[in-house]
């Protein structure tokens, strides 16, 4: 029973992410989703450039990727629920992403209470050993059918 429940939850989350208009606009691809871990990637696109002098992707696009991965991680957590919203998100930018390279964010929902989910995330380009950015955030946990 729990296995079909898990599969159902994963399918729901996958459909949900693919149905997000802004994630589609940024060309996000869900690479992996299970038990509170989400991996989402985004191809380099000249429309997302933030610094015309260097061709580096705007921090805001990286934020959107991290926020989506973090939200997906919350929804895929076994103790979590149907919906979530960001309460706060802090992003640290370690270095500029190399122009032309794909950016991949891995988010992990590492703790869930009755009402709050805690997430950390790392984004890297094709050089996976040197992070481009890290993030930590708190998300709401919206229970199905109201109070329990």
């Amino acid at each position: 029973m729990s296995q079909t429940e898990d599969e159902g939850r994963a399918r729901l989350a996958r459909q949900f992410i693919e149905a997000i208009p802004h994630s589609r606009a940024l060309g996000m691809v869900l690479e992996r989703l299970e038990d509170g871990v989400a991996v989402i990637s985004m191809a380099y696109d000249p429309r997302f450039v933030g610094d015309p002098a260097t061709g580096v992707i705007h921090g805001g696009a990286v934020s959107a990727l991290m926020d989506t991965a973090a939200g997906a991680a919350v929804m895929s957590h076994p103790a979590s629920a149907a919906g979530t919203a960001t309460i706060d998100l802090r992003i640290d930018y370690m270095r500029a992403a190399t122009p032309g390279q794909r950016i991949t964010a891995r988010a992990e929902c590492y703790h869930v209470t009755r009402s709050v989910a805690f997430v950390r995330a790392v984004a890297a380009d094709e050089d996976g050993d040197r992070p481009v950015a890290t993030a930590t955030g708190a998300f709401t946990v919206e229970r199905k059918g109201g109070a329990k």
Binding site: H22, F48, V49, G50, L65, L89
Partner: protein
């Protein structure tokens, strides 16, 4: 004792508005999101017209948290860059006509950015203003507030730290 007659106000305004427009239009991601800026003297207001591609939760619907973060970060960076340009224009060190696609000022780099989501972003236009709380030679701290229909009901706020661009000529 004669002073050169000041230029007509319209000429000065048009030139400054053009410099701001070129600064903003030089960044592809700002155009991608559809953000533009309104200027009253040195005060800037960022405007994010609503668009379906900005939606993050189609059920509510609500603006994507990543869009909100990006909108606030764009507002902070442009405010910071503009405040540097403004200072130089006032001193006569920067000719606003010299700002074009090939001669854009170097932009500050984000160190960290913390967004506080206060309410869900409704499917309407959003506005933001940034305040530079500290602007040193190397680092700056900027606070940004965003709202929709009511200025006093913020839907998000953020604080960010930035590394300042190298400035030519000030040693």
């Amino acid at each position: 004792m004669t002073r050169p007659r000041p230029e007509p106000v319209q000429v000065v305004k048009q030139r400054r508005d053009a410099a701001l427009r070129r600064l903003v239009e030089g960044v592809p991601y700002i155009s991608f999101l559809g953000i533009h800026f309104d200027r009253r003297g040195d005060e800037l207001t960022a405007i994010l017209p609503f668009d379906d591609k900005l939606i993050g939760n189609p059920l509510l619907p609500a603006i994507h948290g990543g869009v909100t973060a990006a909108f606030l970060e764009v507002t902070a960076i442009i405010e910071l860059s503009w405040s540097l340009m403004w200072e130089e224009m006032e001193q006569g060190a920067l000719d606003p006509l010299a700002v074009d696609a090939n001669h854009l000022p170097r932009l500050p780099k984000t160190i960290d950015f913390t967004v506080d989501y206060l309410r869900s972003g409704l499917p309407r236009d959003a506005y933001a203003r940034a305040r530079v709380n500290r602007s040193g030679r190397r680092y700056a701290s900027v606070h940004v507030e965003a709202w929709q229909d009511n200025r006093s009901r913020l839907f998000a706020q953020a604080t960010g730290h930035f590394v300042m661009p190298e400035r030519g000529g000030d040693g």
